[in-house]
Symmetry: C2
Subunit: 428 residues, 2 copies
């Protein structure tokens, strides 16, 4: 059988394990040299590839470098946020397929989230239309854990572990003084609260902080929040609150969009004029998503005015998605395996699919199998936290969530150290 | 010889290793049971002790718990920000000494920074005045590394390691897209730039990001900043900038205090009116320090307007001081030793002193000795980064700083894990 080459790319926001999946694709590409020639990597995803940017990963990476790639966070190949046109008659499609033919590509892998699966879907549909035999396979990744038809997504476990470990440390930090205080921790998550939910794992014992956890799956009410905090103050001096960036009220207005006027009204006050400068502008990214920021700050102002105690808000930053030193080994291994399995699926002739995780809930422990699912069904859908996993009070998670998330954060990573710091693999 | 008891407390902001020093004091207290009865811990520092809050650490902590205490961040005993009156005739002094006598305290240890050394100084001076034989010893700690008469302070090494590791990961994260971008990382440091300087260690190879590093030791100019960024864009797409929260211009105005008007003027623009709501208010803490926040946001707005590229600012949060999982083992061991040595000094009859670190610069490798220094000379002084360690351009560090800081971040910590997360020792 004539050998064909692999083309693999990374797209969307970085995670701690997107390179582990890349590593898995390369390793399986090497292992299956009976069918696969070389493994090319797109530099800056499909956008860079269209401009002729790619590299020969099999030739350029040593085995030692592959090992380092596996534990290096962010996106080794570079990423993009490039949306292919809806219209399959657009001229970019033949242009792209000509480039694929030139490199003798037989297997195309795209590691990414929702929007990347949209790319896989369009390419496989166009390929089908023109009778191409190139196989298009999506390897999932997103810290948001919001892809459907898969038990969870690579990247979530590490982000959850980082969030839980960091919240646990902030809880310690916030409880050193005996004065009453409120600490508000804002975590990533627009519509799906998975990552914020993981902060429940930060509790070392039952009843520990974080006392209150609010997800975007349930409407948020400032009044209820004030009641909840009031109640917590009856049993503790330091109240730590975790919120998703995307919490919104019952009318669907994001907390981070609350302007001065609205906030003043919520505080039961009249203010002379609305200050335009204080209105948060909701920007749109290339995919039309609202770019949110700042609900922590809104809550901080509200809580300070309402309770008159020390209030601090902390926005967990990009380390949530790119911390390599606090990554979950389970997550890294699963992400790597997803890449390997993706190659196997493609070699078996599958196309237009995404690699999915299937958890065996019958077994005692945690056991994971891999399946292929129709990528058309995955893209542009969003999986949120089941409402039944959120406590009735709306400010906590049930044990079902804990049982679900705990296996995903197990195992520590030890990247090779140089001068006391991790030595990551960087494309030069 | 009649046995006396130890009283130990923690004060000021938490660090990753303040508990390692506490552990050292307890361990040495146990080891020297020929002279020491028990080891009491003040709960919430001197403020809590004055209200009768203390615990018997020797009786209450098992050896296994002591080992966990050593690697637990924040302040196990709780902390305070309590300033003793300048006037030694104030009534709090006899009140406090009566309490000390009642507990048969012979040795008093206070683990803290600048302000805590001020407490040690006052207590030892009062003790001298009344002819007390209680010995007062300060154990240094501060992530700011700004205490004089000591080579460095416990807490700095871990904070530096966290900062360097995190900046390295943010650098990876910020370089995944090919679009031009500026990433501004704001680190802790009001007047001393030690921690921000440590971000130079994030460079994996010469020439890597962070490209620009600004400390409060040198006056900051927005115009020079713009020139520096412009120059960097000639050689890279992604420019990562690290700044201390306390950078100020040549007139001494903190960047974070720049209001709309000033910023507009710097951008060469006239605006109709000054928006009061945008003026940052500089709050004062109990010790009269200005509480700063937000120079990263000011720079973000300036850079976005000036360069028209993607700009993001990231404020490294309290994890800088309380990350136990990224702590430096060298730092933990030195902090522990500082506690042990402090007990030895006190047993030798020394009082009114602080334990200091002395580096042997003659030796090839890194070697540390311990000394006692007059606490009166330490308190209310500040050690800043030598100007000769800042590059002439004012936006980088010289190799002298690297040689100084690198030994302090060596060695990794492995706190005991429970369900994938560190199991810290928490006072219940």
């Amino acid at each position: 059988m004539l050998k064909k080459n692999v083309l693999v790319g990374q797209s969307g926001g970085p995670t701690a394990v997107i390179n582990a999946s890349l590593c898995g694709v390369i390793q399986q590409g090497i292992a299956r040299e009976d069918r696969i020639g070389t493994v090319y990597g797109m530099i800056h995803g499909i956008e860079g590839f269209l401009e002729g940017w790619y590299m020969d990963l099999k030739a350029e990476l040593s085995l030692e470098e592959l090992e380092r790639l596996r534990v290096t966070p962010a996106a080794y190949l570079g990423s993009c946020r490039y949306k292919l046109p809806e219209d399959l008659a657009a001229e970019v499609y033949p242009l792209l397929f000509t480039k694929l033919e030139k490199l003798n590509i037989g297997f195309f892998f795209y590691i990414g989230g929702n929007d990347s699966m949209d790319t896989v879907s369009k390419l496989s549909r166009y390929g089908q239309k023109i009778g191409s035999d190139i196989r298009f396979v999506g390897i999932p990744k997103t810290i948001d854990n919001d892809l459907i038809l898969t038990d969870h997504t690579p990247g979530f476990g590490s982000a959850a572990k980082y969030a839980a470990a960091t919240v646990r440390e902030i809880v310690l930090d916030s409880s050193v003084y005996r004065q009453k205080s409120i600490t508000i921790i804002e975590l990533m998550g627009r519509h799906a609260g998975w990552l914020t939910a993981a902060s429940v794992l930060a509790r070392q014992e039952k009843g520990d902080n974080p006392a209150l956890i609010y997800l975007p799956e349930r409407p948020f009410s400032l009044e209820q929040f004030a009641c909840d905090v009031e109640k917590e103050f009856q049993r503790r001096r330091s109240v730590v609150v975790c919120v998703s960036e995307g919490i919104a009220d019952s009318e669907g207005v994001f907390l981070c969009e609350y302007g001065e006027e609205k906030l003043a009204a919520c505080m039961g006050k009249e203010r002379a004029a609305v200050k335009d400068s204080q209105k948060e502008e909701a920007l749109l990214d290339n995919f039309g998503h609202k770019m949110l920021t700042g609900c922590g700050k809104v809550l901080e102002r509200f809580a300070r005015e309402r309770f008159g105690v020390k209030v601090r808000s902390i926005e967990l930053n990009v380390s949530q998605r790119c911390s390599g030193m606090l990554a979950s080994m389970t997550d890294i291994e699963e992400a790597q395996k997803a890449g390997q399995v993706g190659v196997d699926f493609a070699l078996n002739g599958e196309t237009g699919i995404m690699v999915a995780f299937v958890r065996d809930n019958q077994k005692e422990g945690y056991d994971l199998a891999f399946a292929s699912v129709d990528v058309d069904q995955v893209c542009n859908q969003e999986k949120t936290v089941p409402l039944s996993w959120i406590s009735e009070s709306g400010n906590d998670l049930t044990h079902e969530f804990v049982d679900y998330a705990l296996p995903l954060i197990q195992g520590a990573v030890f990247p090779p150290l140089m001068d006391g710091l991790p030595e990551y693999l960087i494309r030069r």
